[in-house]
Amino acid sequence: MTAGAAPAPKPAEPLLALDSINTFYGPVQVHFDLNLTVGRGQIVCLLGGNASGKSTTMKIILGLVKPASGVVRLGGEPVSGLPTPQIVRRGVGSVPEARRLFGEMTVRENLLMGAFTRRDERAIARDLDRALGLFPKLAERLGQRAGTLSGGEQQMVAMARALMGRPKLICMDEPTMGLSPLWVDRVLDLIATINREGVTVFMVEQNASLALEIAHHAYVLQTGRIVLDGPAGDLRSDPRIRDAYLGGQDKT
């Protein structure tokens, strides 16, 4: 850099960055030098087939699994190594795989559990109203045990529950899994809506074509390595997406 030249503008700090993550389950390596960033306000999608390491990536971000090496940064600060509740307190919400609602508790209790880390009762009440505005169906189900809802309704509860924590980032693990086509569309619409309200979304999906419709950016993970990444619009037409799902034939 020559003297006098203007310093290169520092790129905006991404909200979430995974930096050279290596993960092992016993002797089996799950991630190989995984690098990934999620910019503020974006929907970023992590695609991949079975056993590609998608869900483990989610668990790494949430601190449920610890990487052998590498750093997870949230807003520039390292969070890997922190216990899960601490990470959640720093503004990460989670919509876990298969919803994982508290089935014996009511819908209202589930939603308020989402605000567990908050102390501002009035704002919580307002957010509950807002969430019910976003998911009007839930209003009539508030007193019902969450385990009795249908799969799609449970997905809405899980998303509303994550929103109740006022997260900066929501991690969603296969939000459309096991839902009927109608519900899949509805859930994807809602994800886009949540994002428009300012929440950054990082989602793991198997259903690539649908996920790419709402995502800004996507990564394709194959047996623990990122094999492809780019703006969602570019990837939508990329034939290599399909290869990734068919188990990765040798490419020439």
Binding site: L62, L64, P83, T84, P85, V88, R89, S94, P96, R100, L101, F102, G103, E104, M105, E109, L112, M113, G114, F116, T117, R161, G165
Partner: protein, 607 residues
């Protein structure tokens, strides 16, 4: 008529006391998936905390209650810290065994501090009685009922309306998801242990006041009663635990009315086994499912066993056989004889718990059956001693297997609890079946050991006889483990669903292993009865069951040589160092605790 009122009232009061215990056990099981066997120890500590407060400082009742609850809560935190937290990620049975170790340590400390003698727990103002219809009701009855109701109400409000209470329920339902809501589940564990133990201590204080009697030995019974009430109501189900407790209190009270006091516990345990076998989710589980036990993991810690060459084993056996010629010290020989007998029990349990994965907590019952069988056969029917011991083994195998067979459908914790209850039932039947077993008097004048009419009257001959028995049975068990059958048994342990899908009839194999194992235990009990010449229903007690389990874990589960090594170390060493009996139980508890924490695979490794 009035007596029925009194029995009902008594049942409800006792039910209230059980409920305070059972609710705590249910809460702990809910968040930690652990049956806390140290809960009875907390109850005893609560009773003694009240005793010290009242007798030393003359505290008024509300303050006494507060002290007992606070001491209990603190103790709960300690138990969580040492019994549970270090064992996260271990097999589910590990923390359960750790709490057994903790309860041994705590009970023994209480005995050493306060002596095993019972104490009176005076409760000054509560002797008043009021006339109600045809019966009377005491001020203390009302107090206990009020405390029971108040505790239940507070607990309900806590779980239902507070944020922390929600977090407790959320953690119980889905630990990972609760973490993802920002719940610090370790803190929830601590909270729950503190609440549960506070209630348990309160229960101990109240029961001490009710009977005006406390002693350190009431710990184990209290744990069992709490577990019974909880299982009857549905494991981990708080309202179910309360209902189960009241039911248990009434069943016991009416049972005493109809059959007498000595039957009280028999009813409790028969109820437990019946519920476990017929309705393992509890009587009140309409929609609630018991959390599934993991497929595998009844086994503590898989590891590679240390391989000891065949020649060395033979050499060791020869050294043991030649020992009396070199070192004819009677004290050493008697000690080692004792170790060989425990070694037989260890062989038995290491096959059942280690190789097949059925962690039995009532193993002493098999020794008791063997001991009584051989004693009664030789005394009543004049069967020659050698034959009577052999028959003792067969009878133990037959009765033991029959008793435990219905429980084979249970797994993990549930099976362990069933074996514990079956062990207690055997002991209670021995106590109550006076026409056969002479009841509490026990059997005296059991003829000394002899074989083919030759009396074994020297320490040396007895030593050789027990050693030979041990070597023969150990060699057979080695052969068994190396055979196809041995592989099948390990497959049943490691993954019963996979084993089943390969066409293995699980129950038959479990029964076979149990029978083979029970045979060795019966032989051990049979020989013991002839050596002692006197046995009663307490000769083979629950401490022996836990000692046997500690021996087996020390040696390495499933490891034949390990069972013998464990027995020599745990039975022989305290003797060599002449450690007083009251400290031995303390040592056993500590050894169990440390082993599970630091070397769960045992000294020689699991097979």
């Amino acid at each position: 008529m009035s007596s029925w009122f009194d029995y009902t009232l008594n049942g409800i009061i006792i039910g209230n006391i059980y409920a305070l215990l059972a609710v705590g056990l249910a809460l702990i099981f809910g968040v930690a998936r652990l049956i806390n066997f140290a809960h009875g120890s907390v109850y005893v500590v609560g009773a003694y905390a009240g005793f010290v407060a009242v007798t030393q400082f003359g505290t008024p009742l509300p303050l006494t209650i507060l002290i007992a609850v606070a001491v209990g809560a603190l103790l709960g935190l300690v138990i969580e810290r040492f019994g549970l937290r270090p064992l996260q990620g271990y097999a589910h049975i590990a923390p359960l065994l750790a709490t057994i170790g903790i309860s041994f340590v705590l009970d023994q400390i209480m005995q050493l501090t306060f002596s095993p003698d019972p104490r009176a727990l005076p409760s000054e103002l509560l002797q008043q009685r009021f006339q109600v219809g045809s019966g009377t009701i005491g001020a203390l009855d009302l107090l206990i009922a009020a405390i029971g109701l108040a505790s239940a109400g507070l607990l309900y409000a806590f779980l239902r309306y507070t944020k922390l209470g929600w977090a407790v329920r959320a953690t119980a339902q889905d630990r990972d998801a609760a973490q993802q809501m920002g719940v610090n589940v370790d803190a929830i564990n601590r909270t729950v242990f503190a609440i549960a133990s506070g209630l348990g201590a309160l229960s101990g204080l109240l029961v001490g006041m009710y009977y005006n009697y406390i002693d350190p030995a009431m710990s184990f019974q209290a744990t069992l009663k709490g577990v019974v009430a909880q299982v009857v109501g549905g494991v981990g189900n708080v309202p179910g635990a309360i209902a189960g407790s009241l039911l248990l209190g009434l069943v016991e009270s009416y049972g005493i009315a109809l059959f007498g006091t000595s039957y009280r516990n028999l009813f409790a345990f028969v109820l437990l086994v019946a519920v476990l076998v017929l309705k393992p989710n509890g009587l009140f589980a309409s929609r609630r499912q018991t959390p599934p036990e993991p497929m595998t993991g009844t086994f503590i810690a898989p590891s590679k066993p240390i391989h000891i060459p065949y020649r060395i084993l033979v050499a060791l056996a020869l050294v043991a056989a030649l020992l009396p010629a070199v070192l004819p010290d009677p004290y050493v020989l008697q000690t080692l004889t004792n170790a060989w007998l425990y070694g037989l029990a260890g062989l038995s349990l290491t096959l059942i718990a280690g190789t097949v994965g059925l962690i039995s907590l009532g193993h002493a019952a098999l020794l008791a059956i063997g001991g009584y069988a051989s004693a009664l056969l030789s005394i009543n029917l004049g069967v020659p001693i050698g034959l009577s011991i052999l028959s003792a083994g067969l009878i133990a195998a037959a009765i033991g297997t029959l008793l435990v067979f219905p429980s084979f459908r249970l797994r993990g914790h549930y099976l362990s609890i069933a074996t514990l209850a079956i062990g207690e039932i055997v002991s209670l039947v021995i106590l109550n079946w006076e026409s056969l077993t002479r009841g509490p008097i026990g059997i005296s004048g059991i003829p000394p050991l002899s074989i083919f009419g030759i009396e074994l009257d020297t320490d040396r001959s007895i030593y050789w006889f027990t050693l030979a028995t041990l070597v023969v049975l150990a060699a057979l068990q080695f052969r068994l483990l190396g055979s196809h059958l041995g592989r099948v048994l390990r497959a049943v342990r490691d993954d019963d669903i996979a084993a089943r899908s390969y066409g293995i009839g699980l129950n038959r194999y479990k029964a076979l292993a149990f029978a083979v194992g029970s045979f060795a235990a019966g032989i051990s009990g049979g020989i013991t009865s002839h050596l002692y010449s006197y046995i009663n229903h307490e000769t083979f007690n629950s401490q022996l069951s836990i000692l046997a389990l500690t021996i087996v874990i020390l040696g390495g589960m499933g490891n034949v040589a390990g069972a013998i090594l464990g027995s020599v170390l745990l039975v022989g060493l305290p003797e060599v160092f002449r450690i007083a009996a009251e400290y031995r139980v303390l040592i056993y508890g500590l050894v169990l605790l440390l082993l599970i924490r630091f070397r769960p695979q045992g000294l020689l490794g699991t097979v």
